[in-house]
Symmetry: C2
């Protein structure tokens, strides 16, 4: 993980047209009429994208490997055989109505980094290893980040391989079906570092007109299911003082959650995304509300403080309104601290390239979050239009993609060491 300042100061840049062309070319594998991509993991379309990647690797003479979770490893040799490879990884799978960039940019920019080094005749001391992680999205098989989590030891191999899609097909069967169930055992490869380039999937870089996000951490999350029990009654005949309106209690709770999150802004967020009102009749005072709640924060203590404040708000509203507000925690994930050393390398690369940059925290989950538990890892974010992702309208400019790829190139070069 030695940084080589010389590598970052020279004018080496990726071929941005080739990078863009590769994004547009692979977008055809599952391309939708609206310009998005539907490329569910281990589907026929995913096979096409994987085959394209492997063919590109083969034509450049890189060694390829596939593990038993279908993760693809593409290695460009280093000059010092004893050094662990520097990994560049992301994913080629998409949401059912996904875009052309989420995950894909990270893989194709990694390929472009290897090709740029080839073109320039530059060798690195440590090998570089490009990785396509299986099932980051979790759209066909839940949960997501399956390939990277098995790699990191966060999820059992047998659990991962037995996950079923809606048609009852397991991950193991789907891997066999497309010919990507490798012999190599997932988790055995070792790396000195991993870099992941990704669109931000949020609005911050675009709003602040900053080119590069140096991602130092990923937020922890707590998810709840909530239910509020009031008293269903006739909207015309029940005077206000005799009501136990579950919707009014919910409204008070929703604003309390907003205040709790605002007090932790901008790092902390709190969201109620689902709310179902019962019985849902125009002239009936609502008797129940079922809802979701999630908090995210990069600081575990602050996340815990948000949880406690939410429980306090629920208790207060239960007491004052006579409507029970119940919160059931259903899932939680600790915050992930990325490697400060790797983040420093990214930041220095951005500065050397004259690119505006800021430190930031990822609010979404990524393969890097899993890999970071085992390998020193950090992420590079680039802006995406209106912060939109998981959507066919997902968009990023060629310039922003190239800027991210250049930071990826110089960071990888710095970490692997120029031979």
């Amino acid at each position: 993980m030695l940084a080589d300042p010389a590598a970052r100061t020279e004018k080496l840049i990726v071929n941005s047209e080739r990078l863009w062309a590769s994004i547009m070319e692979t977008a055809q594998f599952g391309g939708t009429l609206k310009g998005g991509v539907k490329r569910l993991t281990l589907s026929e379309e995913d096979k096409q994208a994987r085959d394209w990647l492997v063919a590109a690797a083969n034509s450049s003479g890189y060694a390829t490997g596939i593990d038993d979770l279908g993760n693809i490893y593409i290695e460009r040799k280093g000059t010092e055989p004893g050094r662990l490879p520097v990994a560049i990884g992301s994913h080629l799978d998409t949401q059912p109505t996904g875009g052309k960039f989420d995950g894909i940019l990270g893989v194709l920019a990694g390929l472009e980094v290897l090709r740029t080094l080839d073109d320039a005749g530059i060798q690195t001391k440590a090998p570089l290893c490009l990785i396509d992680w299986t099932n980051e999205e979790g759209a066909r098989f839940a949960p997501g980040e399956l390939g990277s989590e098995v790699y990191a030891g966060e999820v059992e191999r047998s659990f991962a391989l037995s996950r079923m899609d809606a048609d009852g097909i397991s991950v193991a069967d789907a891997l066999e079906a497309i010919g990507y169930r490798g012999k190599e055992r997932c988790g055995e490869r070792r790396f000195s570092a991993m870099l992941e380039l990704h669109i931000e999937q949020g609005p911050v870089l675009e709003q602040e007109k900053v080119a590069i996000g140096v991602v130092t951490a990923a937020k922890g999350q707590i998810w709840f299911n909530g239910v509020i029990g009031g008293r269903e009654s006739h909207a015309g005949t029940t005077p206000m003082p005799l009501r136990k309106d579950a919707l009014s209690a919910f409204a008070e709770f929703a604003l309390a959650i907003e205040r709790i999150a605002n007090a932790e802004a901008p790092a902390g967020v709190g969201t109620i995304g689902v709310a179902v009102i019962g019985p849902g009749s125009r002239n009936t005072v609502p008797g129940s509300v079922r809802f979701s709640l999630e908090f995210r924060h990069p600081d575990k203590k602050r996340l815990e403080a948000m949880r406690v404040r939410a429980l306090d708000a629920a208790a207060l509203i239960s007491r004052t309104r006579g409507c029970d507000v119940l919160l059931e925690p259903i899932w939680a994930k600790d915050p992930v601290q990325f490697s400060p050393q790797v983040a420093d390398v990214i930041r220095e690369s951005a500065i050397a390239l004259g690119l505006s940059n800021r430190l930031m925290v990822s609010g979404a989950g990524h393969d890097a979050c899993a890999v970071a538990l085992k390998v020193p890892t950090a992420m590079i974010f680039v802006p995406c239009k209106d912060g939109i992702s998981h959507n066919e309208a997902e968009s990023a400019t060629p310039e922003d993609c190239a800027a991210g790829a250049n930071v990826l190139l110089h960071s990888a070069l710095a970490l692997a060491g120029r031979a």
Copy 2:
């Protein structure tokens, strides 16, 4: 509409066991396993209940008439042929998961009033006319109060007869099918007054332990469809200050509506019964909320003030949150003032019977609200368990039903004049 004090001071009371038995007997027509009633208007079950009523009238020798909306008129003769009849009306149809009392009590207590007068050998100067109004509930054919509204001239006959149910059957066809399309023209009969006894469908009498509600008015209503447009975004990657969370804006609006209604309590009410969150994903900041809103108030000016305050709240939230809050008025009904003279007669009857009573305003719609536009009308409310109606759990005690029937009896006697 002369009150006859003598009629109210004697100890004449209804046969409460016979009244209760008639409620239980007719509850079999459409009776449900949970003890409720499913008797949609003009269904086979409704025909059974109608046939039962007509047979009861025939066996007592009352004249029956059926109009072209299927409203049934059962007349007990008076001694002074020139006097207009005093009507006692309500309905025998129910909601799909309705109860044994809503509407039914008013018809069967009316029958019990006629029978009690027969038993006591009492004649009245004006005739008494018991009415079963067609389709008060509006559950099979919308809108409700169809028979009484055509009677009052509020709704066109042709419009009413052409209403379709979910199977494409019209009111006219349904009337023919059960043999209740009469030759008499709806709206031609004239009455000097109408009385309607009904369960309160609200919690006030029960909570205050009051036996009789003397209903002097019915609330006006304004109904809206509302929509809030925010910006859908990623729950993990969108910092709080960059959000336009439609659900948070909705929560603020819902609490504003509650405050507006509380300021008009207890007469005014405001309810959001429906709210649908879009896209409704756990980890997406809501981009839209579609909702219903209704206000009810017995005072038209205050109802208008509530409307204006709701628009002000919507405008303020739109401005401060950058989420458009739009309200579209879809239906309105002016408040109905019942006849003070008829209400006085009801109140004096309750007092004479030693029954606790209070003036009140109906929050729900009733046949009486339509008839009141044409005939001096007022209503009698009795308590129902937990204020619940439109529900199989709907319940009222034999004592409360009898108390209401006794007030109905003495009010009818006072209005018709004892011969």
